[in-house]
């Protein structure tokens, strides 16, 4: 078992580390810097940190204005507000003019826990991925979050980075030859009965699920898709062709999110059964993070069930 670290904590350290070295980086927050961990940069480089107050729309616009002058703004709030509240501003002030703004939505998904449904954003992947030209990245652990920060900082163009609140096991540091490249999925486990394509913290759950599946004689391939847009069409098509059945897993509504993105590719390249595992189009509720995830089946057991469904449909 790897150490448990929240991706937001790793994110905060990496933003400080890489942002400090890059004078173009400007960090913005909307009164949540202690929760998003943008305060770690703020403490180190106060002259390049702007607290915009509880005014997310304005923060997005300020970031857009900064980007027109060549700055690389990283703006922060909870995913609910960074992607949801300011959808129009992100679309029209950032993405349409193709400005180099990085939108960081922390506290994404059900694993926000106790704060409940108002703060458990399960729609951000869908909202951001349908905006033309937007890159959408969802790292699964602290190790990958670090690589993702570096990658989106170096990439010229609008990006949405999805970050979680809760500590999750670090697993990517154990992957031989791990290399993070925007738009490239990572094969974590070979297998040919079914392919589980997972994003974010469901990657760890997928790996857990393979143990239960192996006990039933099911050999599952596991692929980590950290970049939801542009999505790795090649690795998806190969998985569909070689495994004949796909399960997707995300801590997000099953509608219009990661699973839908995979299904779009599969249906156009190599149609095989796709079962989307995630939140089944319902709002979350309060509870400890793991309790909420378990209550909605957003865990390894839910993935095992989805795999059985997929295999039942496999010809």
């Amino acid at each position: 078992m790897g150490e448990k670290i929240a991706t937001r904590a790793a994110y905060g350290d990496s933003l400080k580390k890489y942002g400090k070295e890059n004078p173009r980086v400007i960090v913005l927050d909307a009164d949540l810097s202690g929760a998003t961990y943008s305060n770690r940069f703020a403490q180190e480089v106060p002259e390049r940190f702007l607290n915009c107050g509880i005014a997310e729309s304005n923060m997005v616009g300020i970031a857009a204005g900064l980007a027109t002058t060549g700055k690389i703004p990283f703006l922060h709030s909870f995913a609910m507000f960074a992607a949801g509240r300011v959808y129009d501003q992100v679309r029209n002030s950032v993405a349409y003019p193709r400005l180099n703004v990085k939108i960081v939505g922390t506290h994404a998904g059900l694993s926000v826990g106790e704060d409940g449904a108002t703060h458990q954003c399960i729609e951000d992947i869908a909202l951001m991925r349908v905006i033309p030209g937007m890159t959408v990245v969802n790292p699964c652990d602290a190790f990958e979050a670090d690589a993702a920060v570096k990658a989106v900082m170096d990439y010229e163009g609008p990006c949405y980075l999805r970050i979680g609140r809760n500590p999750v096991e670090v697993v990517m540091d154990q992957i031989p030859g791990y290399h993070f490249e925007l738009g490239k999925g990572i094969l974590l486990r070979e297998g040919s009965d079914v392919a589980i394509l997972a994003t974010g913290i469901m990657v760890q759950e997928s790996l857990k699920a393979t143990e239960a599946l192996a006990a039933e004689g099911i050999n599952a391939r596991v692929i980590n898709i950290h970049t939801i847009k542009p999505i790795d069409r090649e690795i998806i098509e190969k998985a569909a062709r070689e495994c004949g059945a796909i399960v997707t897993s995300e801590e997000h509504n099953v509608l219009a999110g990661f699973g839908s993105a995979v299904a779009e590719v599969v249906s156009e390249t190599c149609p095989v059964p796709v079962v989307r595992h995630g939140v089944n189009d319902v709002f979350g509720r309060s509870g400890a993070a793991q309790q909420v995830l378990d209550a909605y089946g957003v865990n390894a057991a839910g993935i095992v069930e989805a795999v059985r469904k997929a295999l039942a449909m496999k010809k």
């Binding site: 400007i26 002259e47 390049r48 702007l50 915009c52 107050g53 005014a55 729309s57 304005n58 923060m59 997005v60 616009g61 300020i62 970031a63 857009a64 204005g65 900064l66 980007a67 027109t68 002058t69 060549g70 700055k71 703004p73 129009d88 501003q89 679309r91 029209n92 002030s93 349409y96 003019p97 193709r98």
Partner: protein, 274 residues
């Protein structure tokens, strides 16, 4: 530049905007004609810009937050030499690049894309902050509509500009008193506007938005204000310059018929010769 010259340029800009909207058979002339005098003062008198070096990092910036008034901005940019005046014929055409709302990546001279109301002042705040961070002396200007300022984001930006003491920022509101659904004081009253911006920490200047000298003086006064942003309230007439469009709510976003086009053109040409 002399007021008379500025007035002539503004009338030429109205003719170009009229042509563009008539050719496209769509577009917003009412608000374009109320703001175009201010844009003429900005681009021919106030702004430190060079059309031959339109991306100069040290240039002054202008954000047209009321982005539907592209006919006015595009016309002034054309007259200033950012692109050929013939490009105005390409306005809103599927075959060309002259987008219906102001767009920065294809129309030379446009500093920020806008159109979804309420967002431009925030972008201007970002540009002004960047100037402060980099120790540059450029200034940033932004124009909003008096209907547009019902958007809450304008007031978020107003708070931020005062908080960050952005004395390199000069906003303006085109107070023409009309919006799509009717008079602004009937749809959603914004009065008392000057008091509101003063309460938000801005230096406020009321000015006749069709008095070229007064506007030039107001923008000059804004340059002298220290430690706070300036808001210039431009008191204007929607549809200014064409008799049958003036103060008519129906001319917010309507293209003129061929007859209306000819009459408007005749009136504007007469002004040009006067």
């Amino acid at each position: 530049m002399e007021n008379k010259q500025l007035a002539g340029l503004a009338t030429q800009a109205r003719l170009l905007a009229l042509d563009a909207v008539h050719t496209a058979n769509s577009g917003h002339l009412g608000g374009s004609f109320s703001i175009v005098d201010a844009l003429t003062v900005l681009y021919f008198n106030t702004l430190r810009v060079d059309p031959a070096n339109s991306k100069d990092p040290d240039r002054d910036r202008f954000v047209l937050s009321k982005g539907h008034c592209s006919p006015a901005l595009y016309a002034v940019l054309a007259l200033r030499g950012y692109f050929p005046q013939e490009d105005m014929k390409k306005f809103r055409s599927i075959h060309h690049h002259m987008s219906g709302h102001v767009e920065m990546n294809h129309v030379n001279g446009v500093d920020m894309s806008a159109g979804s109301l309420g967002q431009g002042l925030s972008a201007a705040v970002g540009m002004a902050l960047a100037g402060k961070l980099d120790g540059k002396d450029y200034r940033v200007y932004a124009a909003m509509g008096d209907g547009e300022i019902a958007e809450g984001q304008i007031w978020e930006a107003a708070m931020a500009a005062a908080h960050y003491k952005l004395d390199n920022l000069c906003g303006m509101v085109d107070v023409n008193g009309l919006q799509i659904d009717g008079p602004t004081d009937k749809v959603l009253s914004s009065a008392p506007l000057a008091d509101k911006f003063r309460a938000f920490g801005w230096h406020v200047i009321d000015v006749d938005g069709h008095d070229f000298g007064a506007m030039a003086a107001a923008f000059d006064e804004a340059k002298t204000v220290q430690g706070k942003p300036t808001m210039v309230l431009l008191h204007t007439v929607k549809g200014k310059g064409v008799s049958f469009m003036e103060n008519q709510v129906g001319w917010h976003g309507k293209a003129p018929s061929d007859e209306e086009y000819q009459q408007a053109r005749t009136e504007l040409l007469a002004r040009l010769e006067a």
